[in-house]
Symmetry: C2
């Protein structure tokens, strides 16, 4: 029997440190990969179609949306980005584990798509620390920071829909905790039992 790959979804309010955790986890956890998204934005120098993104026209993207081809998609600064259901299903069937770095809206779409996934929410230790991190970037105006803080309040409320909640009060510990979730989910009974030696007599079907 085929061993299925798992889908891990990492989400957080902006400033919680999600992307640092995402990058480190891909580097540390063997077999864990990001998925290749579809986008309508122009290809940049050095990017390759089908490797960095699947580059498609706005017409093609809209058609995929209409067909319900996306597990989640969004428009950002006039460009569209989306994760195709077929990409995730193919990875699962080929036994590859996928890690997605998506915002709270994308996670909600993914949950609604009915695809099986392990949903992990990253939280800052508190609102004061979140403000400090957002200010510390020195890239955003006071106005942008205020908007992110307001958004964070409603984004944090959605943590109640996730399977795991990891407070990022220490980046190294947060990375290790998310990695522990990945390792543990792979040995849950139902994901192991059909792949054991037949002599154990434990397969649910054969």
């Amino acid at each position: 029997m085929q061993k299925y790959g798992l889908l891990f979804v990492l989400s957080a309010p902006s400033g919680a440190g999600k992307t640092s955790i995402f990058r480190e986890l891909l580097a540390r956890q063997p077999g864990l990969r990001e998925s290749i998204s579809f986008t309508t934005r122009a290809m940049r120098a050095g990017e390759r179609d089908g490797i960095d993104y699947h580059f498609v026209s706005r017409d093609q993207f809209d058609r995929m949306v209409a067909q319900g081809a996306f597990a989640e998609w969004a428009e950002v600064h006039g460009n569209c980005y989306g994760t195709a259901k077929s990409t995730l299903l193919q990875a699962a069937e080929e036994g590859r584990d996928v890690l997605l770095d998506i915002d709270v809206q994308g996670a909600a779409q993914l949950r609604a798509s009915g695809l099986e996934g392990v949903f992990i929410f990253i939280l800052p230790p508190g609102m004061a620390e979140l403000r400090q991190r957002l200010s510390g970037r020195n890239t955003d105006s006071a106005e942008v920071i205020e908007r992110r803080m307001t958004n964070a309040v409603s984004e944090i409320r959605t943590a109640a829909c996730f399977d795991y909640i990891v407070v990022n009060d220490d980046l190294e510990r947060a990375i290790a905790t998310v990695q522990a979730i990945v390792i543990a989910e792979k040995v849950r009974r139902n994901r192991v039992i059909d792949h054991l030696p037949a002599e154990f007599g434990l397969k649910s079907s054969s």
Copy 2:
């Protein structure tokens, strides 16, 4: 609100390497402790009552059994050993995580007791490896080994009742996997959500 401790139950057929994993995990995972059992066997030199075991008479033990005081108990070579429900409940209430190293029968009793626990089953990579490990100990007669092999077959069947199944084909990896389970279970949504800062607005009650 009080943060509850978790109960982790490690079980396996004899020869799967459970006790090595148990010892290493207690050494590596901060805050994880074994629980102190009750026993009717005589105290040995160097042992301390209430630290190594709670030493009780056979009468006292039988009374506790009759009162349903044990989450699991067994008689081994004429001596009785048992884990009191009160010991486990007190640890949980005090926020201490407990790791139990018990055989398959003990795990079944514990499950039936209704106490909440995370049940982890350790498997050998195959029956040939199990036989090799049991023979390699050089402590047991061929007859004892055969009996253990026969028992192992029925014990392994109970893996289907556990939450996690860890195949011990590499001791270091098996230890790391069980440790990952402990870390991950502690950040499951329902175990985190009531202990977050009130400003997140996520507490289920307050």
